[in-house]
């Protein structure tokens, strides 16, 4: 979003009052008697809702909802690259990831901050291996992601959403990318964590606290994105990656279904 110099942005250093509320004891343990707070099993993902083709003006678009995580994605292009220095015989893909200013507990700025820029790059790297870039030389495809409401792992949801939108736009791809994540908490693993369960470095003191996000292309069995955070030992992290792969495999048919259904309803 361009910076509007006339807009009064308000004082820069405002804080959400929630930070100062003392609920540390609740936060300290994400499991209640060995169960997750929303009553899910450890390896149970949240109900997933997907629909391609919401934004009528975009070439392709998609919407994903996982309980309170809601992400919308639009794809434009392929269209010609305007800047000459960007000329390339391969197609280009650009991603812009943005949290809506009201989407998180903390208020976000209108301009992309460092975290959003980082997420844009990660999303781009997750999608690039899947898109057949050589099919549209000299052209570019733009992917715009807006998180409407964030309740944990916006990145994984965005990967899934963006690849659905790309498929909806008719961009040629090798496979659909499915995102998933896991929270590592000591020796337990929480699949598809909610915001409450997500890893925050300041709350955790021990080793083996962290999170893993992956993007998988299920039918060709390739990992296109992999990031982790927090200090985790080798065996646990390998296990977490395997768990994430399984989750992706589970979600994959849902994506396929959503795409097939959208075609059926159109005809």
């Amino acid at each position: 979003m361009p910076l509007d110099s006339r807009r009064i942005c308000g004082p820069e250093s405002t804080q959400s009052p929630h930070i100062f509320t003392v609920n540390k004891d609740i936060k300290s343990d994400i499991l209640l008697n060995g169960e997750r707070k929303d009553g899910r099993k450890l390896d149970q993902i949240r109900p997933l809702f997907l629909r391609p083709g919401l934004i009528s003006q975009a070439k392709g678009s998609a919407y994903i909802e996982q309980n309170h995580t809601k992400v919308i994605c639009a794809v434009y292009g392929p269209r010609e690259v305007m800047r000459k220095e960007d000329f390339s015989m391969k197609g280009q893909l650009t991603c812009e990831f943005k949290f809506a200013t009201f989407s998180c507990k903390k208020k976000r700025q209108h301009q992309q901050d460092a975290e959003e820029k980082d997420l844009s790059v990660q999303l781009l790297e997750a999608l690039e291996p899947a898109v057949q870039l050589d099919k549209f030389p000299k052209a570019q495809v733009n992917v715009y992601i807006t998180v409407l409401q964030n309740d944990g792992i916006a990145l994984a949801a965005s990967i899934t959403c963006a690849s659905l939108a790309l498929a909806d736009a008719g961009i040629e791809m090798y496979d659909i990318v499915v995102g998933s994540s896991a929270r590592i908490h000591g020796d337990v693993m929480l699949v598809d964590p909610s915001e409450e369960e997500e890893y925050r470095s300041q709350d955790c003191k021990d080793v083996n606290e962290g999170k893993v996000v992956i993007g998988l292309m299920p039918s060709i069995n390739q990992i296109s994105a992999l990031t982790s955070k927090g200090e985790i030992d080798f065996e646990t992290i390998s296990q977490a990656i395997k768990t994430c792969i399984q989750t992706c495999q589970k979600v994959y048919p849902v994506l396929q279904n959503a795409l097939v259904n959208s075609v059926k309803t159109k005809t």
């Binding site: 804080q15 930070i19 100062f20 460092a114 820029k117 980082d118 790059v121 990660q122 790297e125 690039e128 291996p129 899947a130 925050r200 470095s201 300041q202 955790c204 003191k205 021990d206 080793v207 606290e209 962290g210 893993v212 292309m217 069995n221 390739q222 990992i223 296109s224 994105a225 992999l226 990031t227 982790s228 955070k229 927090g230 200090e231 985790i232 030992d233 080798f234 992290i237 390998s238 990656i241 395997k242 792969i245």
Partner: protein
């Protein structure tokens, strides 16, 4: 980065070298060998800690500045570290203006992710008065020359600079309701940071069906996907990141992680040994500074 377009035959030559039964890279290294590294700490006097690392052609200068500030409300009882990477146009003209910005943010986000956990660096010790005063460490990485493998080099430089960092001792005097911070004026009355569990980044570049560490620029041009890992001396992994426009097979990821863990541990211990050795040689050692 400096993008030279290499010819097919050159790439094939590199690729086959790595796929060989007895891998022999362009400069005779095996797949798991680092190039020659030289390190010097305490090179810039105006910093709290500094280090310069030269890894073959890659040249990196890291400065740490400790300043007083207010802790962030999310972490009222600990200090902060902030990474900033500057790709100097001295390294390559392409970095001129905003040219190096993308690379710089990439390096700094990976570094901050590596240190974003309680185990790697004890930030609690940097807190002076909870919610009011703490030390903020500004870690600035300056890229003077690039010859491949910038991420690893930057992380090694950062770790060495943190080892070299000396934070003045402060005492808090409480007078009625007012807290007063007194800074020690003795230059030797300082605190040091414990870096024994700080991570180093190991980048594994996938070339063909195999992976190599410490890729040169030419090898980076042949590589489709890289896996960056923050590895601590204990062998735990503090950050993982896949990079590049290719994708990876799950099995090869586990292979790469295994290699990365092994090399990361060797790297950490050798680095710590060197730093301790340098410290022991004390004032006798001759400083070289910025001479090659």
């Amino acid at each position: 980065m400096a993008d030279v377009n290499y010819s097919e035959a050159e790439k094939t030559f590199i690729l086959h070298g790595i796929q060989d039964k007895f891998p022999c890279r362009e400069d005779g290294r095996g797949c798991e060998d680092y190039r020659h590294m030289e390190i010097e700490t305490g090179v810039v006097s105006n910093t709290s800690g500094s280090a310069r690392l030269r890894l073959a052609n890659t040249d990196i200068l890291v400065g740490v500045k400790a300043e007083l500030g207010v802790p962030s409300p999310e972490k009222p009882d600990s200090g902060c570290i902030e990474f900033f990477v500057d790709c100097s146009a001295n390294a390559t003209p392409e970095f001129e203006g905003r040219g190096g910005e993308e690379l710089a943010t990439e390096i700094s986000t990976v570094l901050s992710r590596c240190y974003d956990n309680s185990g790697c660096l004890d930030l609690k010790s940097l807190c002076i008065i909870p919610k009011q005063q703490c030390w903020i460490l500004y870690i600035d990485v300056l890229l003077l020359e690039c010859g491949g493998n910038l991420f690893d080099a930057a992380s090694i430089g950062v770790k060495a600079a943190l080892y070299n960092t000396r934070i003045p001792n402060v005492t808090v005097n409480q007078e009625d309701d007012e807290m007063e911070i007194e800074l020690s004026d003795d230059p030797y009355d300082v605190n040091r940071l414990d870096i024994s569990s700080s991570p180093c980044i190991v980048t594994l570049s996938k070339i063909g069906h195999y992976h190599v560490v410490d890729a040169s620029q030419k090898e980076e041009a042949c590589c489709l996907a890289r896996l960056m890992m923050g590895v601590t001396a204990k062998g735990t992994i503090s950050a993982l990141k896949k990079e590049g426009w290719g994708s990876l097979n799950p099995e090869s990821i586990f292979d790469m992680m295994e290699t990365g863990k092994k090399i990361g541990q060797v790297l950490n211990t050798s680095l710590l040994n060197v730093l301790e050795e340098e410290e022991k040689s004390g004032n006798k050692r001759k400083t070289v500074g910025f001479l090659k």
